[in-house]
Symmetry: D2
Subunit: 315 residues, 4 copies
């Protein structure tokens, strides 16, 4: 039954072939020079909102499945610097520091690539899942989106619309919620939009200054039954302030991440997760302007399936 | 003698205390809401130029000093996916892929933080170099710039101005070159600008499709004697298509990176390196517009001293 | 008061200078060709006991401080292998797999080097703590012990001696316990011995097949007040089946790891942690032979302060 | 033709099923308690030879294919230590250092597991290569050998036998060479032996104190035509002081590593590479004793296909 429900939604929103047999970016194709130029005109105050959370060992990953928090370390530090003129001469300088990192590509604020999720052995646009091996994704990798993720951002603050600080864990945001929020905000969701949906859930962790269990706890998120509406709106991407865009527990208990399955391999929709939306939402509420330029460049990781990001919303 | 020459330039451009004793971002303070809003008005065509090079094992780092190329790897791939209905049921889904990376924070297109270089035991704004330990930079770390690196970008294509495809390795770009290029381009370098200087050097490696020795070979770059001009112009940051902004071999043989020493700990100037400028330069030459909105968000690595980036130039 | 108690023990056992001002291996000097040859004669049955725990993501580290469990990953796997004769020809073979790991050097069964702990700014033999920087330990690093850690192993099964499956968390093993256990086992602790002390604590986690909280929970361990006895016995190293040899909570509340502070920088004693002793202990109880050849080679990590190991006890 | 030559040898030495359908360790089964006890009796002088090369950034890997040298780094160092009594109190101690590493499991002295090489889509004992995915080797992983790699070591110093400091790169060691060396050394290769073959090749790099190109240069090694003899001798494992046991260039030009293909997936023979044999060889030449106890414990990496080691030869 879960299986049938999933399949019905899958077939309703599947975009395979829509941009040709070689396409690897899906709904990002909805972004055009026109939508970008229009979005840039929304930048009038010169305000910047950085939507990326810090990369830190005390982050949202519990490490219980595969993802861990970023591990940052140094090659050289202040203790390695030259101390005497002789050392300065030998090292040809006064020294410096240099560092590196080990991190899952989806451990912080992130974009999923279209190689991230499979459905019946297939990726987006019908590519075989076997094209993803230990050497990475031969198709649908994140670097294909290198210059694609900028355009009009629209924030739908569903929590605010529902009159709560944060939606309850397990609450599934409906199409009616999305439409109601948009109407209340006097904003129209349009083709090519980068849609940001605020559940308020992240504020729970920010308030206690402790990310622990963020990846394990139930959370509110977008309902699978809203995917046909997202499909019809022709949005370019969707991002959320929770762990996985969708709601947990899953609306289809047989599947952990049914929204992912519907959206990524079938609709070709790029998902963004763990977006920090608090400051942006407060500003939008204050000035009544819920649309802005969103520049969210991925790191062009060759054959990668995800990327950490620090999106800029500019108003 | 090198020592004296260095010190003279250092004292000419030192900005310590200019933004208070607690400042950790230096010349990025020159960016204001006004400069951002003005820059956004330059986006009229909706064109996007991604300035980040691919993250790949075959990248610009030789690994001979400390930096190596990004090492990308998978947690899960197509081979791990469920094959039978029983497996789909057990794994609660059709599977997917997940990946991670090990990388120096300065191995690809990047910003240096103001903790990157020391001078006489001090960092930017006079902080002690001992504040950078194995646990990272307690001051001047890159996350302090999280929402700061967006504004007007100006491309000075010095190679084009000099009528060459690429400046010769070892060529030091002078103040006169920078002024001449700006005049030829009919653009004025202003306070708060994110200045991009094209040497053409990267095209040598792109043409042969082989990055090897990029970090070891001599290269053209900006002269240390141009730093007073950059200081007077009050630019917010400078970035280049070479390995280190400055020229190699060094203009002061006793020091490997004298421009770094002058600019980072003393002027508080943010440097960007290994910027891919070819497509952007071609477009600017075609339409005669050398200024644009540059959105180059750092990853907010807590206590980090550098960050990989994929800057977007929007016209 | 804690401070004084610590200092008193420190000064009682301090071995600085005993093996010259350049020594970097401390009590491992007690091992000699004679003790090794004598130990080899204990190998009569040809039995092997591997004392290293598996390197696995589900290991004893919670990641809450700095250490995480080993992260193992593949460069190439079965999915990357050539499938057709043409691919076999092109790849010059039938393919294979290759892997790598990211791991704290002290995340599994391990030796601590003498650079691991400082006391009043000093390491073992009086070397300055500043000799350990981001580029590693310039003195007392683990590679100095490369060919040093083999000799007579003696297992003191204190839990068995006390008639319990496992000592209670927080129980501090006294000198009397160690002497009583040795007497009951009819074994004498001698100069150059690699002393293994079984608390039984690890069995709690093995029984439930879940390592979680192993690094966070209280545990039984060797009392700081037994260090003078260990000093007098002139053992070469000591290892335990708990997280830190010593007991937790600490016997000196002001200090997290007072045994470490006494033993490593002052006595120059090599500590081994998270040793799997269950099978070995059962065998010793069965045949009444508590001494054996112990070969526990460190990985010679240049400038390293710890090493994962898989010691072999041979009987 | 190469294909046929390879197949002929493969079928001559294939041991599939010999130790049952579930076996995952191959010829290591030849080691028994008797061979171990006998080997231990060879330890009379108490001498230790550590056969592992240092783990260092300046190691034998060029990074041109996938393997890089170990990258060692610190979590904490001397610069992080507490300086004042208040800091000592707050940190509950005087501080210390802690470190971690990123390394290919086959980048230094190493054992290959039987999951390392495939032949016609199969691993050792006929297991499918698809059992090795991004999550590692479901069969034939290195941890299956956790307590298996200790026994009689025999060093065949072929370079010495041939009267040269080092065999020429490209020289293929024949069965006659192996038999001649054994005869000259008055040692018999027996069932269960861990056979060490010295080519002298490593001395070239040690002499110039520079590992560069070790993985790229041609080297002497064991001929594929000697594999039937190794098979008949029933050795447990073979290790060499070159990069790959076998000779390079390959004796069968169509295949990069034909010895690997014959030995690992078909014979089930464990291979050891990059063994440091210089000091051991000198000692054996001096005392005329070429057999010893070899304890070479693998790190039990779950699902791993290789392991760094530091084998101890004890005489």
């Amino acid at each position: 039954m879960s299986e049938d429900a999933l399949r019905t939604l899958v077939m309703q929103v599947r975009n395979w072939g829509k941009w040709g047999p070689d396409d690897e970016i899906g709904t990002l194709n909805y972004i055009t020079p026109d939508t970008i130029a229009e979005a840039a005109r929304l930048v009038t105050a010169g305000k910047v909102f950085a939507l990326g959370i810090p990369l830190d060992r005390n982050g949202p990953q519990s490490g219980t499945r595969q993802r861990f928090n970023p591990i940052h370390t140094m090659f050289r530090d202040g203790g390695d610097r030259p101390r005497t003129p002789a050392q300065v001469a030998e090292m040809q300088g006064y020294g410096g520091s240099d560092d590196w990192i080990v991190m899952p590509l989806q451990c912080v604020t992130q974009w999923d690539s279209l190689a991230h999720i499979f459905y019946e052995g297939k990726m987006w646009n019908g590519y075989d899942a076997d094209l993803v091996t230990s050497s990475g994704a031969a198709r649908n990798s994140i670097d294909k989106t290198s210059d694609k993720i900028v355009g009009r951002g629209v924030l739908l603050d569903v929590a605010r619309y529902k009159g709560v600080k944060a939606l309850e864990p397990g609450y599934a945001i409906t199409q009616a919620d999305l439409e109601g929020t948009a109407a209340a905000e006097k904003v129209e969701v349009k083709r090519g939009d980068l849609l940001l949906v605020r559940t308020g859930h992240m504020s729970r962790y920010l308030d206690k200054n402790d990310w622990r269990h963020f990846d394990l706890d139930p959370f509110p998120g977008v309902s699978i039954y809203a995917t046909p509406w997202l499909h019809a709106r022709q949005i370019a991407a969707i991002a959320c302030d929770n762990y996985a865009v969708e709601v947990r527990p899953s609306e289809l208990p047989a599947f952990r991440n049914p929204f992912h399955v519907i959206a990524i391999p079938n609709m070709g929709l790029t998902l963004g997760e763990i977006f920090y939306l608090e400051a942006l939402a407060a500003d939008c509420a204050a000035d009544g302007r819920w649309a802005f330029l969103l520049a969210a460049p991925p790191l062009p990781v060759v054959r990668g399936v995800g990327t950490p990001i620090n999106p800029y919303a500019l108003k």
